[in-house]
C-alpha cells in the first residue's frame, strides 16, 4: 500500500471515503437530525431526510465506481507485481 500512485490513491481512498460517507456519515447525521430511513417499508421515498435519496445513492455509487475504476485500471495498466498472488 505504500507504493500507490496518485490515481490509485484517488480510487482506493476516494472510493472508501464516498462509500463510508454515504452509509455511515450520512446515516449518523440522519439518525441525529433527520429521518433514520430514506425509504418507507412500502417503498415510498421519505422526504423529511437531511440528504435526499438520490444524493445518498449517488454518493455510495460514486464510491463503488471509484473502487471499480481502481481495479479495472490496475488490470489495464500493469501486471501483478508478485505473480504468486
Amino acid at each position: 500500500m505504500s507504493e500507490l500512485t496518485t490515481m490509485e490513491r484517488v480510487g482506493l481512498y476516494g472510493g472508501a471515503v464516498f462509500l463510508l460517507l454515504g452509509t455511515v456519515g450520512m446515516g449518523l447525521l440522519e439518525m441525529a437530525l433527520g429521518a433514520p430511513h430514506p425509504v418507507s417499508g412500502e417503498g415510498q421515498i421519505v422526504h423529511e431526510t437531511l440528504f435526499s435519496l438520490s444524493i445518498r445513492s449517488y454518493t455510495i455509487l460514486l464510491g463503488l465506481i471509484l473502487l471499480a475504476a481502481y481495479g479495472v485500471s490496475n488490470l489495464a495498466t500493469k501486471p501483478p507485481q508478485d505473480p504468486s498472488i
Binding site: 505504500s2 425509504v39 417499508g41 438520490s54 473502487l67 481495479g71 501486471p79 501483478p80 504468486s84
Partner: protein, 177 residues
Amino acid sequence: MVTNIQTQLLGRDISFPVEESRFAYWLVVMRLIVGWWFLHAGLDKFLAWPFDAGWFVGGAAAQTSLGPVVTLFADGILLSFTNIMVPLGQTLIGLGLIVGALTRLAAFFGAFLMTFFYFINGETGGWAHGVITGDLLGLLIFAMIATLGAGRVLGVDAYLAKTAFVRDHPRLRYFIG
C-alpha cells in the same frame, strides 16, 4: 502457523499477525456459501424458465438512481439479452466460486450484479431499515473474495496459476484467484 502481514495504510505501519489456517478456512467457507447463493439463484431461474426480468429493469428500476441506464434494457433485444444473461451469469458466477475457477473474474461480475440489486431493491423499499442491506454485504463479500484471491484455497485456480500459460501471461492473475 502465524504470518505477519507487513503493510502500510495512510502512511502508517499497520503490520499485523494472521493465523494462516483460519484465514484459509474462512476463504473457502465464504466462497462456498456465496457461490451456492448465486448458483441457486441462477439454476432456480432456469428451472422455472422462462425468466422475465422486465418487472425489475422496466418497473422497479424506473424511478431509481440507476433507472436511466437500467431501463434501456426494459424491452426488445436488450430485455431478451438480460433475461438470458442474469440467470446465466448467476449460474457461472456461482459455479466459478464453488469450484474456485476464474474466481476473481466471477467475483467481479458478482459485485457488478449486486450493484444493480442493491440500489434498485434499496430505493424501492429495501432501505426501509437503513442503507446497509444484505445486497450491500453480498457486494462487499464479492469484493473481498476478489481482493484475497480465494480460489487458490482448494480451488481450480491453484492449478491454473501453475500452468505455463498463466506464467507467460501474468495479467491473467487478475482473473483467477
